[in-house]
């Protein structure tokens, strides 16, 4: 009996460690996005380079979390809620790692953009970046608080980012048609915009998994407004 209680306590601790690590990874990713946006808006190449170097930590933590999850699955054979949590953790882990990579991509574009004068003052891009960052933050908040409403809100926000992305595309298209010299910069900004849109997709993917974790229902590939 004592042995069993001990085991279950150790198991609880291992689950909590996975959660803590996942949140740490989330915090790192969140910070990377914030700083990436800052590097973009302030045209700060030094900061961009710093972020690119910092991605190594995200990758290492990603691998560690995955190993912990697999070990838990193999040794503890979790059931029901715990199993859903671990599956969710593995998925979110993957999403966060991908988001980290995307921030690196944005920073690489920032470095290229900074070699040329600024094309135009950014208006929609900071808004979009802010929403994407907020989505990552809120999905992590939903994970901590097991907040179904918040997770569903994140799933809905994806729509806004998609629309902003299209808007930025159209606007940049006019720039390029007016002046072919802007094409290079406009394309870079388009790629950044697209990458931000992908980040928001990943945030939505995390929110989907959180809905699954809380309710046990798979809502992936559903739109948020079919929710009741």
């Amino acid at each position: 009996m004592e042995e069993r209680r001990h085991t279950s306590r150790a198991y609880e601790r291992e689950l909590q460690e996975v959660k803590e690590n996942l949140l740490y990874l989330g915090a790192l990713t969140e910070k990377a996005i914030s700083r990436g946006i800052q590097a973009l808006l302030e045209r700060n190449s030094e900061l961009a380079r710093e972020i690119i170097e910092g991605d190594g930590a995200i990758d290492r933590l990603d691998r560690e979390i995955e190993e912990r999850c697999i070990r838990l699955l193999a040794l503890r054979q979790p059931a029901a809620r715990d199993l859903r949590f671990i599956t969710t953790a593995i998925k979110i882990n993957g999403h966060l790692e991908r988001i980290g990579d995307m921030v690196v991509k944005i920073c690489e574009k920032v470095l290229l953009l900074n070699e040329e004068p600024q094309l135009k003052p950014y208006i929609d891009l900071p808004r979009m970046a802010e929403i994407a960052r907020g989505m990552v933050k809120e999905s992590l908040d939903a994970l901590v608080g097991e907040d179904l409403a918040l997770a569903n809100k994140v799933r809905g926000d994806d729509e806004i980012v998609d629309r902003l992305n299209e808007q930025i595309f159209r606007e940049l298209l006019t720039f390029m048609m007016e002046d072919p010299r802007t094409i290079h910069r406009a394309l870079l900004i388009m790629q950044i915009s697209k990458t931000l849109e992908r980040i928001s997709d990943h945030a939505k993917g995390m929110a989907d998994m959180i809905v699954y974790m809380i309710t046990g229902r798979n809502v992936r590939h559903e739109t948020a407004d079919t929710e009741t």
């Binding site: 909590q16 959660k19 803590e20 949140l23 740490y24 989330g26 915090a27 914030s34 960052r133 901590v144």
Partner: protein, 580 residues
């Protein structure tokens, strides 16, 4: 329902009574039975001896006269055992010589036996006496009596005993009842009292009228309670004091429990966090703040156990900068170590640090620009041909311009330094602004007119006087009006008074129709060298210190500067002065 204790005591009394009964029954009964049987036997032996003493042949004749009781049966047996006579039965009877009582009588003269008589169909007591004549045994006289008499006698005796016992046990039970109640009463009161204590009540002291052990117990309990009350009071006071300090302190305090979850935090921390992190009690720091720097610090502390200090930033961008000190404590040597974090909001400090660093960089820059120009022009003048008087004059004028700007800059810096060090005499008096304006406005109006602007004095002469230092007031007004004229390219500048903007204050308002200031820049306008449009400001000969000086001068005079602006429409500077 009676208490268990009462039942126990009462039951043991009942048991005692029952035991007495049992002992009487099982110990006394055989003795009593024997005594009675012995009496009957003695009587029978005596009667038997009387009869046996008669000549044997005459015995039957005396039987009638022997006055034997009805149940007594007499059997006359001759020496051979033949039954000669039996008062109990008329039938012929078998030889009785082998009867135990007869055998015993044959040997000892008298024999007794007690057994079931088939003749009488009853338990009988037999007594046989040998009848001798001249030394020869002639026969035996046997007397028998049924033991019913004994039984009846015993039963009769029992009746008395039972009656006595019943009579005795009634008061015994009553006594048991009373005694039990006497004991259980106080015990029950004690139990009630202690239960109420356990439930958190604090009943008045325990009352026991008895002087016995219960009374002592009650006195002891009361003494303990009083002692506990005193300690509780002291502890509560101590706790209240700590709680007040805990909540009143500006620093944020956060405590983790043994499972590394947030156990409590003080109001200071809530203020510092500005409600950004709701419901953090019960969460781990990672769940609550998701701050990697904080988490790294906590982990480092856990590893090293050495209290440490870190600077962390909460929130995005230039969020709240906190100085966190991590340490731990133990309530007692055996208890778990608890991690404690103290947060100090250093955001303001950080901002000031940044402003100071910016200030020094700015001063250097501001001083160097005119100096570079002065040096450059002087060099050009020196290397230019001596005949070029016009050129030299023009260059000298440029040098002079720059030198003046340097001088203005140094003057402004001096004012600011004096304001900072507090080394700045202020002589507040009642001043009517409308009396100052006529001396102040003409030079400015002339400069405005040169730019095609109108300078309108809409200051009502009947505005109540303000309390200000006359010289500083002039300086403030000049700075603001100069700014207005400088930055407005078309339209008008109006100076008016507002008396209803702030209770107890008169507001001098200077409006212009200039380009306006973006909302994002408004809060930073009082910062030294902060310029909304850097290039333009310098071009116009500003030092970047004007508004900073106004802000400070207003503050030392007990007033305040407030700027409203709509980009594209104009700016209004409100100077709130206390009423005289």
């Amino acid at each position: 329902m009676r208490s268990r204790l009462f039942l126990k005591i009462f039951a043991s009394y009942l048991f005692l009574v029952a035991l007495v009964l049992g002992v009487l029954e099982f110990v006394m009964t055989p003795a009593i039975r024997e005594t009675i049987t012995e009496g009957i036997k003695d009587k029978l032996v005596a009667q038997g001896r009387l009869l046996a003493a008669l000549p044997f042949a005459e015995i039957p004749a005396h039987v009638e006269r022997a006055a034997l009781s009805k149940e007594t049966r007499l059997t006359l047996i001759d020496a051979t055992g033949r039954v000669l006579l039996d008062t109990g039965s008329r039938e012929a009877m078998e030889n009785h010589l082998n009867r135990p009582e007869v055998q015993e009588a044959r040997l000892k003269g008298v024999g007794t036996a007690s057994r079931y008589s088939r003749t009488m169909r009853e338990d009988m007591l037999y007594v046989a006496v040998t009848a001798t004549e001249g030394g020869a045994v002639r026969g035996y006289v046997r007397l028998a009596k049924p033991l019913t008499a004994v039984r009846e006698a015993v039963e009769h005796l029992y009746g008395s005993i039972y009656l006595t016992l019943f009579v005795v046990s009634l008061p015994a039970v009553l006594l048991a009842f009373l005694f039990a109640r006497n004991i259980t009463g106080p015990v029950r009161r004690l139990a009630d009292f202690t239960r109420r204590l356990r439930d958190g009540e604090r009943p008045a002291s325990l009352m026991m009228d008895s002087q016995d052990e219960f009374g002592q117990l009650a006195a002891n309990i009361n003494a303990i309670l009083e002692e506990l009350d005193a300690r509780w009071q002291a502890a509560a006071e101590e706790r209240a004091r700590l709680a007040a300090a805990f909540d009143a302190m500006e620093e944020g305090v956060l405590e983790l429990d043994a499972l590394d979850r947030i156990a409590r935090l003080n109001r200071g921390l809530k203020t510092i966090l500005k409600g950004r992190y709701a419901d953090i009690v019960g969460k781990t720091p990672m769940e609550a703040f998701r701050n990697t720097t904080l988490q790294d610090a906590i982990e480092e502390f856990r590893r090293t156990k050495i209290p440490l200090r870190r600077e962390i930033t909460f929130g995005v961008g230039n969020g709240t900068v906190l100085d966190v000190h991590i340490t731990s404590y133990r309530a007692s040597p055996d208890s778990e170590e608890k991690v404690m974090m103290v947060f100090h909001d250093v955001t303001r400090l950080k901002t000031l640090e940044r402003i100071r660093a910016d200030f020094i960089a700015n001063v250097t820059h501001e001083l160097r620009t005119p100096l570079t120009a002065v040096l450059g022009y002087l060099e050009t003048i020196r290397s230019s041909p001596p005949g070029e008087v016009d050129l030299r004059d023009r260059f000298l004028r440029v040098v002079e311009d720059h030198a003046r700007r340097l001088s203005r800059l140094v003057d402004d810096l001096l004012i600011l330094v004096n304001l900072d060090t507090g080394d700045f005499p202020i002589h507040p008096e009642a001043v009517a602004v409308s009396e100052i304006l006529p001396d102040l406005l003409p030079p400015l109006a002339q400069r405005a007119a040169e730019k095609g602007l109108a300078l309108e004095n809409a200051f009502p002469p009947d505005t109540p006087p303000i309390r200000a230092d006359r010289d500083r007031l002039v300086q403030v007004l000049l700075n603001c009006l100069d700014n207005a004229v400088k930055f407005t390219s078309e339209g008008r500048i109006t100076i008016r008074a507002l008396t209803d903007r702030r209770e107890g204050f008169v507001t001098v308002r200077i409006e212009d129709t200039g380009p306006g200031i973006p909302a994002a820049d408004l809060p930073r306008l009082g910062e030294r060298f902060y310029r909304v449009d850097k290039a333009r400001s310098r071009e116009l000969g500003g030092t970047g210190l004007g508004l900073s000086i106004v802000k400070h001068l207003m503050r030392v005079q007990g007033g305040e500067m407030e700027i409203e602006s709509t980009p594209g429409a104009g700016t209004a500077v409100n100077l709130h002065f206390p009423k005289a």
